[in-house]
């Protein structure tokens, strides 16, 4: 069975004053029907650019996609679609929510008109039908008094409510895939939990696949089926969520896990990863993580590591990872 969304050899680069920034470099992954895939990594690792590339929301120029890149949705390469055909996908088949709900909503339009606009962009509903549907959607995402709030402007709502509006808008055309780019990062912790619960509940009710992007590995433990870890514009480890958490094979993933606080181990000291993410204009040679890696060997700095399958459906791109069957 082919996946709903197949990303193959995706490279997205930007022309900058200090050279070509290869923000996403040869990334491939699948998103299956009904699955939640978590894409995790530090700021600047390319996860948001990956998400935006899927719907071609990167401005070209300065952005450009590599010639080998393919983003196949139901077998169609989105990178080859005309602008008109692409619009049929955006919002209708694949919808997206963003990190900052406040700035992602237009400040001078009511939330209702922004949802109505999304509905009418893909359907033949009248304004009245679309407004009724918008009220239903606001009810669905847990906005109190939706009949009244539909006429509110974004600034009259809290951040959590704004994100609910974004979710309602994203779901308005019953998309098959929801891309959530750090949807809870800008919110209070208690609100974060509510939004996560809502997203997972709606995912099941709508039968959607979710690509969930975050810098917080802890968030993924409760919601993801599979996890892909990004570093330096590449996916360095990918596997089923329990395997990633219990048997991380890449030193970077191991480092990330040590940086996540555990509620059952209150005294354990949190350890960060020394150093910072390198810039996309000058990635390190070999394995891009080698300057920060505590387990590096000589070849790490010169040779790009291969895909090592450490167990079924669990791949790490690391010279020191142990292949399955050897120990």
């Amino acid at each position: 069975m082919t996946a709903l969304l197949r990303v193959r050899n995706l490279s997205t680069s930007f022309a900058t004053e200090s050279g070509l920034a290869r923000a996403v470099d040869d990334v491939s992954f699948d998103l299956e029907q009904g699955e939640t895939l978590g894409l995790v990594g530090e700021s600047g690792c390319g996860k948001t650019v990956t998400a935006l590339s899927i719907l071609r929301l990167i401005a070209e120029p300065p952005g450009q996609y590599g010639e080998e890149s393919r983003i196949e949705y139901e077998g169609v390469n989105l990178l080859e679609l005309s602008a008109r055909d692409l619009r049929e996908i955006r919002g209708a088949q694949i919808a997206m929510i963003f990190q900052e709900p406040m700035s992602s909503l237009n400040p001078v339009l009511t939330v209702g008109s922004q949802i109505v606009e999304a509905i009418r962009a893909h359907g033949s509903e009248s304004r009245r039908e679309a407004t009724e549907r918008a009220v239903e959607l606001l009810t669905l995402v847990g906005i109190p008094e939706p009949g009244r709030q539909i006429n509110d402007y974004p600034h009259q709502m809290s951040g959590g409510m704004q994100q609910r509006v974004m979710i309602a808008m994203a779901l308005s055309c019953r998309p098959k895939i929801l891309i959530a780019d750090e949807p809870t990062t800008a919110l209070d912790v208690t609100i974060q939990a509510q939004i996560l619960d809502l997203l997972m509940d709606l995912k099941v009710r709508f039968g959607m696949s979710v690509l969930f992007i975050t810098h917080d590995l802890g968030v993924l433990a409760g919601i993801a089926d599979r996890v892909a870890v990004m570093y330096g514009g590449k996916i360095v480890e990918e596997g089923e969520v329990h395997a990633i958490f219990e048997r991380p094979a890449h030193p970077y993933t191991q480092g990330l896990l040590r940086a996540v606080p555990h509620i059952d181990r209150p005294t354990a000291q949190l350890r960060g990863i020394p150093g910072a993410v390198p810039t996309a204009t000058e990635w390190p040679s070999g394995c891009r993580f080698h300057p920060r890696c505590s387990q590096r060997i000589d070849r790490c700095s010169t040779e790009t590591p291969p895909d090592i399958t450490t167990e079924t459906e669990h791949i790490a791109r690391c010279w020191v990872a142990t292949p399955a069957g050897k120990s």
Partner: protein, 322 residues
């Protein structure tokens, strides 16, 4: 809201007072006075000149003239025109409709043209189209407006013969039927309004291009695209709507520019409005007319700004009183 209005009106009164004072001082400091201007071409005895000054109260100390001027305008009395020997209010009211007619047309042209050009440029930044229009608007903006007016006359009046180049109406105006009069007025309006309006549109376009480009960098534009909206809807519904808010402020700010531009354009096109009246009055040192027109200008500008502020508060939901 009421407090805001009261404060703005008090500000406005203060501004008008300051403008009245400065204009009064300026016209009196300028070399010459109504008497010298009046008898410039006629050799008359000094006694006659002195008598003229006495008659008009120009021999009194400046502070006395200033105080009586202030008390007069406070009572709505603009005084008498020296050179025309008519009440100033009559002179101004006669000139006002033509100027308002020209200014409204020019304002309409400058914003309609400027916003269309600015939006088109801002939506395709750094394209060849954008660069060409930037050069064109800069050229129009850099041209002295009277020269631009003369070129318009030369091309569309002299060479092509499409439009009349002088006056607000034809000599046969009063003999025309109603619709003919309307057509005649509009026909005369085209060149002066285009001259004044296109000069303004260059400023509006450059300003609006930046606003559109800034709006395009906002996150909600990405959201609009992610929803699957057409690029047309993204521009018109999302970017333009946000970029129009600053344009409202600009509308208020452009009134003084329009007013000062009108002085030159009216002169070039012999358009009998406030600008031409002001021009003649300055040449004749007609103090009362000059200060009255400056006062009118100040009042119009101040009202324009208050209206723009109110409009802004009305349109931007974030500043609307909740």
């Amino acid at each position: 809201m009421t407090r805001f209005l009261v404060r703005r009106i008090l500000h406005s009164v203060a501004i008008v007072f300051i403008v009245a004072t400065i204009t009064f001082l300026l016209v009196h400091i300028a070399p010459g006075d109504p008497a010298t201007a009046q008898f410039r071409d006629r050799p008359v005895s000094p006694e006659i000149v002195a008598q003229y000054r006495r008659d008009w109260g120009l021999d009194r100390p400046l502070y006395q003239q200033y105080l009586s001027y202030l008390s007069n305008i406070a009572r709505g009395n603009l005084g008498q025109s020296f050179s025309l020997n008519r009440p100033v209010s009559e002179v101004v009211l006669q000139a006002l409709p033509n100027t308002v007619f020209l200014a409204v047309a020019a304002l309409g042209i400058s914003f309609a043209v400027g916003i269309v050009i600015g939006t088109a440029q801002g939506a395709t930044p750094n394209s060849r189209f954008d660069h060409t229009l930037t050069a064109a608007t800069l050229a129009v903006f850099s041209m002295p407006i009277f020269w631009f007016g003369l070129m318009m006359m030369l091309v569309f009046g002299q060479w092509l013969g499409w439009f009349p180049v002088s006056g607000a109406t034809s000599p046969v105006y009063s003999a025309l039927p109603f619709l003919g009069r309307v057509a005649d007025r509009l026909h005369h309006l085209v060149l002066p309004a285009l001259t004044l309006g296109l000069g303004g549109s260059a400023v509006v376009a450059r300003f609006h291009r930046a606003e559109i480009a800034e709006a395009f960098a906002q996150d909600f534009i990405r959201t609009a695209r992610a929803k699957g909206l057409s690029e047309r809807d993204v521009v018109l519904r999302h970017a333009l709507r946000n970029a129009l808010l600053p344009a409202i402020t600009m509308l208020g700010l452009s009134l003084p520019v329009l007013f000062s531009g009108a002085v030159l354009v009216e002169h070039v096109f012999a358009w009998h409005g406030m600008g031409l009246a002001a021009f003649d009055a300055v040449a004749r040192r007609d103090y009362n007319v000059v200060t009255a027109i400056a006062l009118f200008g100040a009042i119009m500008v101040v009202i324009g700004n208050v209206v723009a502020d109110l409009a802004y508060r009305r349109v931007d939901p974030r500043t609307r009183a909740s």
